[in-house]
Amino acid sequence: MTYKLCVDLIVNWLKQMTNNLSFLLVILFLAFPISILINFQLIETSYLDANFAGLSKDSPIRNSVLVEEGKSQPLPYYISQEIENKWPVKSVYERSISFEVRNESSKESKLISFISGGFKSLDIKPLQGSLESMEFPKLGQELVAAISYIEWKKHLKTTKNVIGKKIQINNKTVTIVAIMPENFISFREHQTTSFVMPYKQLPELLDDVDYSITPDTYSYLIGNNQVFDSLTQDITLYLQNEALLLEESDILINRAIGVNNQKYLTVSKRIYLLKTLFWLLLLFCFIAFNNFYSGECAAKQQEYKIRAFCGASKVNLLVQRFLDMFLTVMLVIVFCIFCLPLGHYFVQLFLPQVSMEEVRTNFSQLLNIISYLFFCVLFFMSIVFLIQEKLIKTTFGRGQSASFSQKVQSYTLLALLLSLTTIALYSSLLLLENQRSIFKTHLGFVDENRFVVTFDFPEIRSEILQANNTAQLLLQQLVSNPEIKQAAITSMPPLSEKTSYSQWFSTTGESIGTGAHGNTTEDTISADYFTTLGTKILLGNSVDSLKPMNIVVNQALWDRYFTDQTLADAQLLNVNTMNGEKTAYRVVGVIENIYISGPDTQIEPTIYSPVFALTGFEGLVIESQISAIKLTKIVAKIIKTLDVSFNGIHIVSLSELIEKEHQPRLAILKVTLTATVLMFIAAIVFCFSTIKQLTDKNARELALRYCEGAKLGSLIGREYLFFIIVFIPIIMGVVTLFTLKSDLLQKLLVGTSLFNITAITLIGICILLLVAISLGYHIKQKLRFAWLSLS
C-alpha cells in the first residue's frame, strides 16, 4: 500500500513538474546564484590550501602583511618584534631566490627557500637528519641547508650519507643537514624548491652586511589559532596606539600561505565583492522563488482537497506533503549540482586572475555544502508552506476577493523585488559609466608599436660593475638596427609588475612616497625613455647620462611636494643605504603621470634617475614595427655581444599588456551585465506573475466595481495607488540601506560620484511604469470576462 502510494505520488509529481515549466525556470533562477556561490567557496578554500608546503588546513600559521595605501609589504622587523613581545607568537620570514648550486658532478641554478624556522610548530618533520640547526642557526657558523625530497630523489638518492654532505651554493660551502619530507614541495605555490636554508644565513650568502626586507619576502606568524583570533582583532589598533603604525595603515592577518600578497588581496577583494553581489542576487531570486512557491502551495492545497474527495486519508496526505516538499528540495539541489559547471564557467569569466585549473574540487566540502543547503531549503519551504496554509482558505468557488493582508503581502514582496532591481540597475549603470571613464583614461604612454622587454630575475648576484658603459653600448647597438626605431632602458617597464624602491626625502625632510618607512618608487631610465614611450615632458628636460645628479619627477610628485616652487630650485634628497648619508639631487624635469600598472591604480610619486651600468635587473622599451618574435631574435643577438648577465628574454607588445590589464575590469563588467540582465528578466516575470495572481484573486471585486459603473482607468488607478503606497517606503528603505553600505561600491568606482538622483529617479519611474503596464494589462483582461466572475 505505502509502496504503491509512494510510486504513484512520485510519478504524479514528476508529471506535474514536467508540465510546470515556469516553476522549473524559477528553480533554475534560484540554483544559478547558489552554484556560483558554491564555486566561490570552493575557490576560497582551494586558494587557501597550503598542502604544497606540507601544511594542513589548520596549521597554526598565518600570513601577515602591512598594508599601506593599498600596497602590501612584509612586516618590518620592528613590528614583528613588537608582536612577538605582546602575543605568544613567533614571526617567520621566507624568501625564495635562485642560486647557482654546484656539487662534484653538476652546476645548475636552483631555487632556494630561506625560512626563519618554525618547522617544529608547523609539524614539518624531516625524512632524515634534523632541522634543529636550521631552526636556530648561529651567525658566523657553517652554512646549512635541507635538501628537498624531489631534489634528493633526483640527484642524491644513490649517494650514501647525504646528511653532512657539502655542496657549493653561490660559491659558498653549505652542509646538508636534513632531507625535507615528501609533501613539502615549496613554501610558495607553483614553485619547486630544491633547498631550504635559514633566513638568517641569506646575508652571508649574498655577502651583504645589512640585510633589509625585500618586497618579495613573505612574513608569517606562527602561534595557535585562538591567539590569532584575538591578534587579528586587536593588532592594528594596538600598533597604532603604540605609534608604530600610521592611521591609514593596516596589518592584515590571513590564511594565504605562499601566495602573492598583492594578488591575494585583489582576488579576495574581488571574491568578496562578487560574493556580496551574488548573495544579493540570491536574495532576489529567493524572494521571486518564494513568491512563485506561494502560488504553488495554494495549488497544492487545492490538490490535497481534491485528493481527500478521492479517498486520501490524513496519513496519505501527510506522506504526500512530505514527498512533495522533499522532491522539490531535491530538485533544487539537483539543479544546483547541474549548474555547478556553468557556475564554474562564469566564475572563470569573472575572475581571470585565478586560473581555474588550480582550483581542486574538494568533494567532502562540496557534500557538506550541499547537505547544509538541503536543510536550509527544506526549512524555508516548510515555513512558506505553513504560512500559506494559514493564509489561504481553499475555495471551490470561482470569483474570489483578495483579502487585504494578501494584497499587502503580495505588493510588499513585489515592491521589495522592484526596489532591489532599481538599485541593481542603478549600480550597474554607475559601473558602466565608471568603466567608460577608465577606458578613456590617458595612460601617459603610447602603446602602438611599442614593446616591453623583460628578463628573468638575475639568478646569481654578480658584483655590480660600476662605471662601465654597458647601458650606452646596448642602446647604441639596438638603435643602429634598422628595424628598431627607438629604444630605452627602464627598471620599471609599464604593466610588467616590476617595481624598484629607494629612499628619498624632500628638502624639508618629508619622506617621499607611501608610508613612513621611506619607500620611494624610483625608475632608473635612459635619457630617451620618455620619447620612446611618447610620454609628455611637462616642464624642463629628461635625465642625462652625463649628469648623474639630475633627476626627473612625475606630476603626482611635483604637485604634492613642490606646490609653489619653480623648477630652478627644486631639489630632493637621496639616502645612501650603506651609510645613511643624504645627497641632494636636482629636479630638472616633470613628466605627465604614467599609469604604470593600469588606469584604475593610484599614481605613486615617482623619481626617474639616469641609468649607467646594467645590472641585469633592467628592462627595455622598444619602438618597432616588426613582430615580437622577430624582435626577440634581434634583441637576443645584441644582448649576447654584451658583458651583462641577462637571462630569459621576454618581449610583449604593450598593446597586448594593456589588453591583459583590462581583463579583470572587463570581467567585472561581464558580471554586472549578467547579474543585471538576470535580475531584470526576473523582475519583469515576477511583476507580471504577481499581478496576475492578484488580479485573479481579486476578480470578483474588480468585476463588481466595473458593473457598478467604475471606469477601467479608475480601477487600475486604485490598484496602482495601493501599490505605490506600499512601494514608496520600501524603496526609500532600500535606498537608505544602499547609501549606508555604499562604501563597498565606492571601492570599485574610483572617482565616480555615487549619487545621481536623476538617474535613480529615472530608473524608479521606469520600474513604476512596468508595474502600471502589467496592472493595466491584467485588469483589462479580467474585466473582459467580468460576467464570468460574477454569474
Binding site: 504513484d8 508529471k15 487545492q302 485528493r307 478521492c310 479517498g311 486520501a312 490524513k314 471551490f396
Partner: protein, 241 residues
C-alpha cells in the same frame, strides 16, 4: 465491508440528524430523516444557502453530524475511524462538483486514476484498464493524454464523472454538476447519470434546475435546513438560479 453491503437493504440512513458549522450556533440542518436505498436516484432542490451542499458533505463523509445518526451500509459513521472513512469515500462514494475540480497539470488519464492511488486492492498494472473503462463509460476514451485545459466544460465534467466512477462506487454524489455548463452539455451529463442509475448506481443529485430534477426517481426539497419529501414534482419550483 462488502458483506455489510449485501446484508443491508438501505444504503444510507439518516435519523433526526442536526448539523451546525463550528463556531456558529445556527443549525444549518435540522432534524433530517433520509433513507436512500440501493439503486435510488434522488434529487435535492432548494434555494441558495438552504443547506444542500452541507447535506451532501455529510452524506459524503466530509463533515460529521453534530447530532443524530448517519449510517452508511449499515455502519454508524460516528464510530468509524479516520482511515475507514477514507476507505469508504474511496470505495463506495464518487463525487461530482459544479466546477469539475480537475488537476490541470495532470493528464486526463492521471486525473481519472487519482482515486486508484488510494485503493489498496488495485495494482498499478490494472490502472490502464480501469481508467479506460471509466472513460469509455462517459465517452471520453479518445482524450486520455489531453490536459483538462484543452477540454470543453462538458468534456471536463465527463472526465470528472469518470474519476468518480473509476473505483466502481455504489453511491454517486453530484453537487450541481451542470452549474457551469450550457444546456446541451447539461443534457448530456443528465443522460449519463440516468444511464449510470440504470446500470445500478445509486445517485444523489443536487440541482437548482427544475426540469433536470424531474429526471430523478424522487425529489426532496430543503427549506431552512429542514428536508421535505416531494412526491409531486409540480410543487417544486423555488430553486435558486
Amino acid at each position: 465491508m462488502s458483506d455489510i453491503i449485501k446484508s443491508s437493504p438501505s444504503l444510507i440512513e439518516m435519523t433526526s440528524l442536526n448539523f451546525h458549522y463550528p463556531k456558529t450556533k445556527i443549525d444549518v440542518l435540522q432534524n433530517i430523516n433520509l433513507t436512500i436505498n440501493q439503486g435510488d436516484y434522488i434529487a435535492i432542490v432548494g434555494t441558495s444557502g438552504s443547506g444542500k451542499s452541507t447535506l451532501l458533505s455529510i452524506l459524503g463523509l466530509l463533515n460529521q453530524p453534530t447530532q443524530g445518526n448517519y449510517s452508511i451500509l449499515g455502519t454508524n459513521t460516528t464510530r468509524l475511524t479516520q482511515s475507514s472513512i477514507s476507505l469508504i469515500k474511496n470505495h463506495e462514494i464518487g463525487f461530482i462538483f459544479q466546477n469539475f475540480n480537475l488537476l490541470t497539470q495532470l493528464s486526463v488519464f492521471d486525473n481519472v486514476a487519482l482515486p486508484l492511488t488510494y485503493n489498496p486492492q488495485v495494482k498499478r498494472a490494472q490502472y490502464r484498464n480501469k481508467v479506460l473503462k471509466a472513460l469509455h463509460q462517459v465517452d471520453m476514451g479518445d482524450f486520455i493524454d489531453r490536459s483538462p485545459d484543452q477540454l470543453s466544460g462538458g468534456q471536463q465534467q465527463r472526465v470528472a464523472i469518470a474519476r468518480a466512477l473509476v473505483n466502481e462506487p455504489s453511491l454517486i454524489l453530484a453537487d450541481e454538476p451542470t452549474g457551469n455548463l450550457d444546456s446541451k452539455n447539461s443534457l448530456q451529463v443528465f443522460d449519463l447519470l440516468e444511464r449510470l442509475n440504470i446500470q445500478g448506481k445509486t445517485i444523489c443529485l443536487i440541482t437548482h434546475d427544475d426540469a433536470y430534477a424531474q429526471k430523478a426517481k424522487s425529489i426532496w426539497q430543503i427549506l431552512d435546513g429542514k428536508l421535505y419529501t416531494e412526491g409531486n414534482h409540480k410543487t417544486v419550483g423555488q430553486g435558486s438560479v
